[in-house]
Symmetry: C3
Subunit: 340 residues, 3 copies
Amino acid sequence: MEFTLGQLAALLGGKAEGDENQKVNRLDKIQEGKPGGISFLANEKYEHFLYDTECTAVIVSEGFSPSKPFKTTLIRVKDAYLGFTKLLEAYAEFTKAMLVGVEEPSFIHSSSSIGDNCYRGAFSYIGKKCRIGNNVKIHPQAYIGDNVKMGDNCIIHAGVKICADTQIGNNCEIFPGAVIGADGFGFAPQPDGSYKAIPQIGNVVLEDNVSIGSNTTVDCATMGSTIIRKGAKIDNQVQIAHNVVIGENTVIAAQSGISGSTEIGKNCIIAGKAGIVGHLKIADNTTIGANTGVSKSIKKPGETLLGYMAMDMKDFLKSYALFKNLDELEKRVKELEKKG
Amino acid sequence: MEFTLGQLAALLGGKAEGDENQKVNRLDKIQEGKPGGISFLANEKYEHFLYDTECTAVIVSEGFSPSKPFKTTLIRVKDAYLGFTKLLEAYAEFTKAMLVGVEEPSFIHSSSSIGDNCYRGAFSYIGKKCRIGNNVKIHPQAYIGDNVKMGDNCIIHAGVKICADTQIGNNCEIFPGAVIGADGFGFAPQPDGSYKAIPQIGNVVLEDNVSIGSNTTVDCATMGSTIIRKGAKIDNQVQIAHNVVIGENTVIAAQSGISGSTEIGKNCIIAGKAGIVGHLKIADNTTIGANTGVSKSIKKPGETLLGYMAMDMKDFLKSYALFKNLDELEKRVKELEKKG
Amino acid sequence: MEFTLGQLAALLGGKAEGDENQKVNRLDKIQEGKPGGISFLANEKYEHFLYDTECTAVIVSEGFSPSKPFKTTLIRVKDAYLGFTKLLEAYAEFTKAMLVGVEEPSFIHSSSSIGDNCYRGAFSYIGKKCRIGNNVKIHPQAYIGDNVKMGDNCIIHAGVKICADTQIGNNCEIFPGAVIGADGFGFAPQPDGSYKAIPQIGNVVLEDNVSIGSNTTVDCATMGSTIIRKGAKIDNQVQIAHNVVIGENTVIAAQSGISGSTEIGKNCIIAGKAGIVGHLKIADNTTIGANTGVSKSIKKPGETLLGYMAMDMKDFLKSYALFKNLDELEKRVKELEKKG
């Protein structure tokens, strides 16, 4: 889509200082700007890029006064960073709103319903008895199993697999390749050393405003529900096992894993590659560092943990500093032994 | 599907103590039960839920005698837990058996064959010269490459990718997004610092009763076969590299990784996020703890290992306990030095 | 495909010592060879397999002289290993070249173009305004979003998802289930404790000769590009976050993760399950061991690192050896305390 600088200035409540009829169709980094792009300058550290940029336009803040000549056109707004962010959001909203209709072939069972202003991409699949809300965008090759309920304004990206009985709130976004609601890992050992699968008959519930990253897996509950509460944001390649509960506004970074039946509180931050064993409770506002292994419940809210087996972060760093020079400590002991 | 309590009592060899014509269509947790659901009470710890539950029916054991009034209908069987499990399994079998036929559009090459009572979902793909057995369920958007052989009673879930030449036994289940038989990571360094791909011409063999989790990857062998032996159960997001062999009835939890040419014995248990380097042999009945790194072969069967670099679990925990207070040890040395 | 031993000998510049009209249609391991297969003998350690093999033919080197009778036919070439490798490559090339045409149903938007000698598998999807080169093989159920540019000779395997605006060079191969260019994990905390998604408007650039493993995820940049430079080889289930740059000919093994905005130099080797935090620079020729956590930039090229928090590998191994016997050190201190 193309917009004139005049249109954009109006959207941002600002003013274009030059030809308002120039057109842009792209958002650029200021240092990589090309004609047809618009960028922004919010940090004076980057001011020198303004004098070289080939962008058609640059958004600047009210107080900015250039110290050298430049070729681009300024759009002056109250706060350049907020202005640019507003532009980004408007662009994302606009792009999403434009995506309406059905590409063929696609599959929807006759017993299922889908709301208004939706998109169903080619090769997408919707099983039996699904109820899907308005403004939902189901991208190509996405799979929605039987009896799935989904609210409004969700985006289900290409190749996402949502298994039977999953319930999804409003404004959720699920990125490509994620698998929601497949069977958890439950096997009963048999007398002969083999294992028998325990039927997993629960489901997954994603509340409102949940985001699930690419190739993440969220298993259905054995019975009842695996629950991701409202506002939780889950990154790529995270594993969430059966009957886990993730609290409101908790953030989990890539490649972390949460084992079965563990409950994570709200407003927690879990960094990349962390692992939490099963059947624990993690208090609200807990911060868990990258690669940390948690094997005990965390009862006190607000702690920051780190380590192969989680410890208070400061204590871990103190111990690790000594570990790095453990041969020095050993030498000191040897020295004492000689003297003794 | 709906069943009457009379039908279910007959299936379980028990008796409904109330109106046999009441219908249920769902399995519930007793504490979350709603009308139309059936649950069970096997553990006296949960007995109080019986008196509040809104389930239509609850399965109880022969000897159970209630201490308060309740609204639900009891189905009395020999052992409530086994009865409920039998119900779960019957339900899963029934659901699976119901899934028969072909949804269009789907793709099967004219040189391939598939047995009786099978399901091929919409947008599923079967390449050339495949031989697929009876009662196989191939869900929507699953991919089966050329020359794949598959036994009876397998379930291939949505979006699974099974690459050319893979051989699969009977009763295997592969969960959404898993990739079986793609090329392993083999590159020959060239004099100019670049790498050249080594063609990977082997395959993957899954023996009978193997389960592969969502988004797990099992690479084909460079030559010969990567083998998962019968009864092995692999969780989500596990990586199994080329020419690996996983022994009979071995269990591998989520996000573990097994590097190339390693052979894991039978009846091993590998916990989540463990990593095993290439070209090792791991003895039968080995237990490897969560997040453990294994860099040497394990020759003695039955060991339990833990640690960043695997050690006997008890030794690791002893060392880690001292690591957590390493500054205390350092202070004691300092104290000795002062005295000396 | 079948070839006569005469045809293969001609291809390899060697000579079949026996009936040139015998046919082979498969490459075998020498110890598992069956009639119809061809294998090689390059290492004298395996010579004994020659006398038992049921392969139709075995490639051997000029100087080889057998010490016992055998049933197979020898194809004698200058160097048996190089000869077999040449055969493998010819086979892979041939198989790839054979794959041409369009399977239906498939989807390509009318505004997109694709070159000559390409393959588009059933249920593959190509969005708007894509420009795709010659000899590109797009396997079934692959997804290519809007405005993707791709060079020549690429292989996009089954179920790969390439999101909008991605740019791909020549000779790239992307394995099943990989996701290229989905949104990175960027959320701005709000005053009420919730998070708001920051639109991710950048893209991913894969230069020439890049390989991306199964179920790996490469996020698009927030602005600008996430870049994988030419010749880089990425294994399965690797996570590469927004705005990362991976240097030329760098190799990253399975289940590693690179956090946002980190730049990895060229000719680095990163072993499995390594994790690198965001906003770092890793010097050229760095080697990072399995499961290593890197939390600081590496400035000196050529280092080898290992450890939960990366250290020089030798230092780490020295410290870990003492850690394994930390109770011994503690006992020595206790002994000294007693004496004191």
